[in-house]
Amino acid sequence: MKITFPHMGNTYIALKVVFEELGVEVIVPPKCNKNTLELGTLYSPELMCIPFKITVGNYLESIKKGADTMFMWGGRDVCRIGYYNTLQRDILENLGHDIKMLCVKPMKSIREIEHFLEKLNFVSGTKNYLKILKSFIQGLKTLCRIDEFDDLVIKIRAREINKGEVDRLYSNFKRDINNGKGYRRTMEIIGQYKKKLLNLEIDNNKEVLRVGIVGEIYTVLEPFINHYLIERLGNMGVEVHRSVTSSEFIREQLDFIPFIKSNKHDIHRASEPYLDTEIGGHARHTVGNTVIYSEKNFDGVIHLLPFTCMPEIVAQSILTVIEKEKDIPILKLVLDEMTGETGYLTRIEAFLDLLISRREKKSYEKSISWS
């Protein structure tokens, strides 16, 4: 059995660790690229969202490398993604590929975690549940460490003195991670690079803009789809905060376990005046986190969503009201298969200009009221 899974930012690192620890051969699909997009759009229904298409592309590229088992998120209560695995299995089978699709559902109870472990049992062929549980926990830890590392990268990139240093370090980090195997080695690499990162020269007094990113999780996390937005903003000297990450996504499901904590309740509280129920996807998070960003005095918020994403479209219309009531500028970017970046860059640059002039005006008003 050769297992593969779709890409979503750095989530692959944790999945790779889980399966490697179980002793299964893992095929990581090539980083999302033009070919992935082309394959995906060719074989997907036209009106599907871009995450679906890219995922199909990932599978096809992995199959070419020998993969025969696909691992995919699913289940009800999220959004259309709940049935993506079924549809994708049909698409791949119609193309003549003999594959197996393993679908994981949200893990909101002990029973559901058991289901997940059973799937891992099937994959690994081992009956040793202790080993399975151990690799599952190692996967979760990796996920959290990677997200912590990425948050640090974001902080330092905005303040680096020698331009491009962080990006170079990061590309070496990715290379080492891809060459490394297993939990211990992966953790070692993260630790090493964290040290290197902390040794870089930074300007601690630099006044940076703070921008929160909200929206649909795939578009926030996958750089190929959001045109490397987070790196770009960092290189423009902006400190970005991602409100949705894969570790937070999992923590929110597992937080019925006593020692696991998530921000879910804060987010629900913040979104309550505008949206007090789940409508699928990350809509409630988009609304809640935007309110939280305004409370934390962020300079602005960028809302990312895939074209035809229903939950985020609902959230988008609510954001218009929040923008006025909380007086926080929000830039909405709809992402699809367009690879021409000029339009996005123009909007982002103009948005940053707007944030800078707003900040200058505020500090001017403050200085007037003091004198």
């Binding site: 331009k163 339009g343 123009t346 640059e349 707003r358």
Partner: protein, 328 residues
């Protein structure tokens, strides 16, 4: 000796160059069609500008804007490279200091910019659809056999209302054809189209936005008086079309360059004679990773001047001058 600043706006449809003196007076403005060849258009534009200027004119600074702003900056050496939204905002504030709303319709995009107390406070740009932009009007004018310059005046002659669907360029065109076949007047149809464009703009970009006067209408389409009148009818107040409405982006980048040069004290502009240089572009697909970026190599007089198009910076971040030394 005359001292001037240059502003360059390389857009999808037109390339504009503006010459401004130190007191913000516009001495000259140029509007030429880009025709998909921004490098050529810029060279022609710059030559024309040079020919019109006195021999002893000194260029103190240059700014670029528009979708080709980075290309223009690499070619000419710009003191400031600014996106068109900010540039339009700066130019409008210079014309009408208390402006609250800017309606800007260009060749391939349309924008709404809201300003409060002299700063840009909110903006929106059309997203995936080209309905309601200059290119669409251009095409319809061509189809009807009317020069685009007369389009607006014809709309004013309309006596009765003909409604055209404006939400989609394709639907609008079939709606127009249908109304023609029914025997409606050409003036009425043209007026209907102008109304459809204005309506579409307000429904699309203006949705949920507080459009307060004074409102400025700029961009290439602002020359069309039919659309100006349609906006006035729909919004219920007067719309200001500035004298240089078509080149406001270039004016904005002129003003920004003036400010920038005041700060830095010197210009990066390579001189007007750069118009006679040869510019060449070569591209290749980088095979270093699975991104397979299309990297562009830009040559000025057979010498590599810049590279761009890569995501990781291994080509664009490298200092070209150092490379040259190594090769030598």
């Amino acid at each position: 000796m005359k001292k001037v600043y240059l502003g360059v706006d390389v857009g999808s449809v037109s390339t504009n160059i503006v010459v401004m003196d130190s007191n913000k007076n516009i001495l000259d403005n140029l509007y030429i069609r880009t025709k998909g060849k921004p490098i050529e258009a810029l060279k022609i534009g710059l030559r024309q500008t040079r020919n019109k200027l006195d021999k002893d004119t000194k260029v103190l600074g240059l700014g670029t804007t528009g979708s080709g702003r980075h290309l223009a900056s690499t070619m000419l050496g710009a003191d400031i490279v600014k996106n068109e939204i900010t540039a339009h905002g700066v130019a409008a504030l210079n014309t009408v200091p208390d402006v609250n709303t800017i309606i800007e319709i260009g060749g391939q995009d349309s924008k709404i910019i809201l300003l409060r107390d002299g700063i840009v406070y909110d903006f929106a740009m059309n997203t995936v659809c080209a309905a309601g932009t200059g290119s669409f009007l251009d095409r319809q004018a061509e189809r009807l056999g009317i020069p685009i310059q007369e389009f607006g005046n014809l709309a004013l002659k309309s006596k009765s209302q003909v409604r055209i669907a404006g939400r989609c360029a394709v639907f609008a065109e079939s709606d127009m054809i249908h109304k023609q076949q029914l025997g409606h007047n050409q003036e009425d149809i043209i007026n209907g189209l102008c109304e459809a464009m204005a309506r579409n703009y307000l429904n699309n970009l203006g949705k949920g936005k507080d459009i307060k006067p004074p409102v400025i209408f700029q961009g290439g389409v602002a020359a069309n008086i039919g659309i100006k009148k349609a906006f006035e009818r729909l919004l219920g107040h007067e719309i200001i079309v500035p004298r240089f409405a078509g080149v406001m982006g270039a004016i904005g980048s002129c003003l920004l360059a003036r400010e920038e040069v005041r700060k830095t004290g010197k210009t990066k502009f390579l001189g007007l004679d750069i118009a006679d240089s040869n510019f060449n572009v070569k591209s290749f697909e980088c095979e270093n990773c699975s991104n397979m970026c299309e990297v562009v190599k830009f040559y000025r007089d057979e010498k590599l001047a810049a590279r761009w198009g890569d995501k990781c910076g291994r080509w664009s971040n490298v200092q070209i001058a150092k490379d040259d030394e190594k090769l030598a």
